[in-house]
């Protein structure tokens, strides 16, 4: 199973070790500069006025008093932005950053000010006079599609939506093959249930922040915490009507993103304030703004019907999924419908997804967007079926597991995949056979994520003293600079410490897709390896020139050029440093680069195992033990791979047990702070065991698969299955917060 056992793949020296990350010292000393840590001479503070209503027509905005306040240098409303009529996607981002005709959710941006101090900016916000006409609102996904529900937008439904449905339903998706109704006839038992999950927030600890400058010549500079500064550049340029090349965006260190920093919230507003004021403008969100107005994931309502024979064969799977993505199109329901049954080899499978709008903030991506909720529903039903027949839930999953050659429920046929390996490893793990006590239960669940490639551009420079710098265009969100340095060192045959990787600004490289889709170690790693190979070819050429032999007669071995075989001539190996030293005389500086949009991001599977104890007096569920089994393809830096497994599990545990968006009847978010929006803290969790499996991805030179997202897919179901086992009652509604669990225990009697 180990990659190294495959003879056609390299024997690694650097890859698979655990060196210190290059940005480590900056980050443990407080020296690393995050979004809010930058300042500029003459800088103003930008603040945003937000809607206090869940749904309201904006009748008028009078900014004259604010503009007249001493110290105020600019006030911006939607009127300052051009109308975008040819691109709904960008138009929606703008409307979310600055409301147009209507405020669509509590916290929607209405106006912004830039002032010489935060104090004056706050005062100015109070002087902006907005007249609202309040409208009826809806925040629940099922209520939003009822007849007579308040309508957010007219005419946004696409051609997939049947006539007669609520205008709040924007798209319909369908995936699958076979005939589930036919398949269900062969089942000995069918579970049919509705599952609900509440919206959660990515919960990055760093609020959104940026520092913008914009000159009258149309040139702009932006410092921003983002998962993708190229995306920021391109989308800001589209919104502001400027050329991409005129806007230089530098990514700060990023204090967490998890998908939530893959779109814009402040940036076009900051640039507009900077343009109007002629001064640099810094904007930093409060935590309350982050929760009210940025990125939660969808809340969902999912109907599942699964049939099984008494020996554990799934005869058919069906799911109808309703996801609300906030006030705009684009809930992750399509991914949910694609991924729901992806771990299984099914003859009859069908999923239908509905994209629905409500008066909530526009959903942003959140780690494997759409998949955790789908897996919660399907894996809960499979667990219930296994328990119905008294079957081992891991055996049931093994019996139905997708393998190489399986036609996935969403279309493609799988190449070599790791699901079965995760299940077998889980079965053999001591966790599976450990004894459980009173009020304790164990749950397992599987999860899947697609992974992604995307536009990628890397430059690798050989310095005159023989060190190496790698420039890449993806913010380092969890140790990726270390991984890039390791892959470059591996390929060049030099020590890890000789390579320094930097995240370059948008003026330094070509287009780079955002840090999403678990793509960085895969795609940027691939480009780094290819860039190193290009540099090696050039160095072999230089050595050939010095030796006066054909460049084909030179090969690269252990960090040096050497004659390839006895016929090439007898020359001592020439190291990278020696070639670099004389580069000026052999043709100039040496660099390698690679540009690609790589296909071949291998899909990734995981199995999670969880023990919980339920307190029958309080309804609190405590995680006792947790183990993650996941296929990484090849773990470049195993410690950071484990970290991804552990972090995804922890976020999933929070989603399962505590985290939720709570809206009052007035449509106002009631828990816009970390006190009431309760993410897991250190005392909530046990150690999280991370078991790395390595089934190489043929689409990457070293076998890498993305690992960042799959880890959040199984935990909702794994925890729910464990809680259901411990409580003796099936939990179908997340989060399983103490009041909800206590009510279920009481109802059970």
């Amino acid at each position: 199973m180990a990659l190294d056992s495959k003879s056609d793949l390299p024997q690694f020296k650097v890859v698979g070790t655990r060196p210190a990350r290059p940005d480590g010292i900056d980050k443990v000393t407080g020296r690393a500069r995050f979004g809010a840590d930058m300042s500029a001479p003459g800088m103003l503070t930008g603040l945003i006025l937000r809607s206090p209503h869940a749904h309201a027509r904006i009748v008028s905005i009078d900014t004259s008093k604010a503009e007249a306040l001493a110290g105020v240098h600019a006030v911006v409303t939607r009127k300052d932005f051009r109308e975008i009529t040819d691109d709904d996607f960008t138009a929606d981002i703008l409307d979310n950053c600055m409301a147009g005709a209507k405020a669509l959710y509590d916290g929607h941006a209405i106006a912004a000010v830039a002032a010489s101090s935060t104090k004056i900016a706050r005062e100015a916000l109070k002087l902006i006079d907005v007249t609202y006409e309040k409208l009826d609102h809806v925040t629940d996904v099922d209520e939003a599609i009822e007849d007579g529900a308040p309508v957010l937008h007219e005419g946004r439904s696409d051609e997939t939506v049947p006539a007669g449905m609520s205008p709040n339903v924007l798209s319909r998706y369908e995936f699958g093959h076979g005939d589930p109704e036919e398949g269900l006839k062969n089942a000995d038992h069918v579970v049919e249930r509705t599952y609900k999950t509440e919206a959660t927030h990515q919960g990055y600890i760093e609020p959104h922040a940026c520092l913008a400058q914009m000159g009258p010549d149309g040139q702009g500079d932006l410092w921003v915490c983002t998962q993708g500064h190229y995306m920021v550049r391109n989308t800001c340029a589209a919104i502001l009507g400027i050329e991409q090349g005129q806007l230089r965006v530098t990514a700060s260190e990023i204090g967490g993103g998890f998908g939530g920093k893959t779109t814009l919230f402040l940036e076009p507003v900051a640039l507009m304030l900077a343009k109007k004021s002629g001064r640099p403008v810094k904007m930093v969100m409060t935590r309350s703004e982050v929760l009210r107005a940025t990125g939660p994931t969808a809340s969902t309502s999912i109907d599942v019907k699964i049939g099984m024979t008494k020996d554990g064969k799934i005869t058919a799977g069906f799911a109808e999924m309703r996801y609300q993505g906030g006030a705009y199109p684009g809930s992750p329901v399509e991914f949910g419908a694609m991924s729901a049954f992806a771990p299984y080899d099914l003859e009859h499978v069908k999923t239908i997804g509905w994209d629905i709008v409500t008066n909530r903030p526009k959903a942003a991506a959140y780690r494997a967007p759409g998949a955790p909720m789908a897996a919660f529903a399907v894996e809960s039903a499979i667990d219930e079926l296994a328990r119905h027949f008294g079957l081992d839930p891991l055996e049931v999953r093994l019996k139905n597991a997708a393998r190489e050659g399986t036609k996935a429920s969403y279309g493609p046929t799988y190449p070599a995949i790791g699901l079965e390996a995760t299940l077998r490893t889980a079965k053999d793990h001591p966790h599976w056979s450990a004894p459980l006590g009173e009020n304790q239960g164990r749950g397992v669940a599987c999860g899947f994520w697609f992974n992604f490639g995307g536009d990628t551009c890397v430059t690798l420079n050989i310095t005159p003293d023989g060190t190496v710098t790698v420039s890449e265009g993806n913010p380092d969100i969890g140790g990726s600079r270390a991984s890039m340095s390791m892959m470059a060192a591996e390929e060049l045959g030099i020590p890890y410490e000789k390579v320094r990787t930097i995240v370059a600004d948008t003026g330094s490289l070509g287009q780079n897709e955002v840090t999403d889709g678990s793509r960085v170690t895969f795609a940027v790693g691939l480009a780094t390896i290819e860039a190193a190979r290009a540099a090696k070819r050039e160095m072999c050429k230089r050595a050939a020139m010095i030796w006066g032999i054909d460049e084909e007669a030179v090969e690269w071995v252990d960090g040096a050029a050497q004659p390839a075989g006895p016929n090439a001539g007898k020359f001592p190996p020439m190291t990278l440093a020696e070639i670099a030293e004389t580069a000026s005389n052999t043709g100039g500086p040496i660099a390698g680069h690679h540009e690609a949009n790589p296909e071949g991001a291998g899909v990734s599977f995981a199995t999670h195992m969880c023990d919980v104890e339920v307190d029958p007096d309080t309804g609190a569920a405590k995680i006792l033990r947790y183990t993650v089994f996941q296929d990484a393809g090849k773990a470049i830096h195993p410690a950071y791979v484990e970290g991804q497994f552990q972090g995804g599990a922890a976020q999933g545990i929070g989603w399962a047990l505590n985290e939720e968006y709570i809206y009052g009847d007035d449509g106002i978010l009631q828990n816009a702070g970390f006190l009431d929006y309760r993410v897991p803290v250190a005392s909530d969790l046990p150690m999280i065991d991370a078991v790395i499996l390595e089934i190489p991805n043929p689409g990457h030179p070293y076998g890498v698969r993305g690992v960042g997202e799959t880890s959040i897919v199984p935990p909702l179901a794994a925890v729910a299955n464990a809680v259901s086992a411990a409580a003796g009652v099936r939990m179908t509604d997340l989060p399983m917060s103490p009041p909800k669990l206590l009510a279920a225990l009481h109802a059970k009697g």
Binding site: D23, G30, E253, E642, G643, A682, L685, A690
Partner: protein, 159 residues
């Protein structure tokens, strides 16, 4: 409002600043003194990213007024390493990969140092409860707890 003149000590350095009476110590550190190692994750004392010590006591600097620093000793992440020498906790955080994005790291390090000063031999449970006021969204805490306990061990052995 008239600004308040404050004389204090930060990481051993005599320091003076002017601040608004309602300005937090965190804002003073970050915006007036350029010490941006302390982070603001919430501004309400829930996340611990702004952890500093006030006369040796662990506090959230977002819940302390700048004016309250008068005559006190403040300790921040910037004062944790001695010149080129990282504190054992800082080394262990790097060694154990106890950070991913790093935004919570300064606060966690200040809080962990404070723990080990009070309790050089904490159990895992004691460590988890002491650090429960420092949110980390990336790691699931596993490697952080291991780093702190390993640092404690090394510090005990060196003592």
């Amino acid at each position: 409002m008239t600004k308040v003149h404050v004389t204090t000590t930060i990481n051993g350095d005599p320091t003076e600043f002017l601040c608004e009476p309602d300005e937090t110590l965190l804002d003073v550190l970050r915006d007036r003194l350029g010490m941006t190692g302390s982070k603001e994750g919430c501004g309400t004392g829930d996340c611990g990213a702004c952890s500093v010590t006030l006369n040796g006591r662990l506090v959230c600097s977002c819940l302390v007024l700048g004016a309250e620093a008068e005559g006190q000793e403040i300790g921040t992440i910037e004062g944790m390493a001695q010149g080129e020498n990282l504190h054992v906790l800082q080394k262990k955080f790097i060694e154990h990969a106890a950070l991913q994005c790093g935004i919570c790291t300064p606060g966690l390090l200040v809080a962990a140092k404070s723990l080990l000063e009070k309790n050089p031999d904490p159990t895992e449970e004691e460590t988890r409860y002491w650090l429960a006021g420092n949110l980390c969204r990336c790691t699931g805490y596993d490697k952080i707890i291991r780093a702190v306990m390993d640092a404690a061990k090394e510090m005990r052995e060196a003592a």
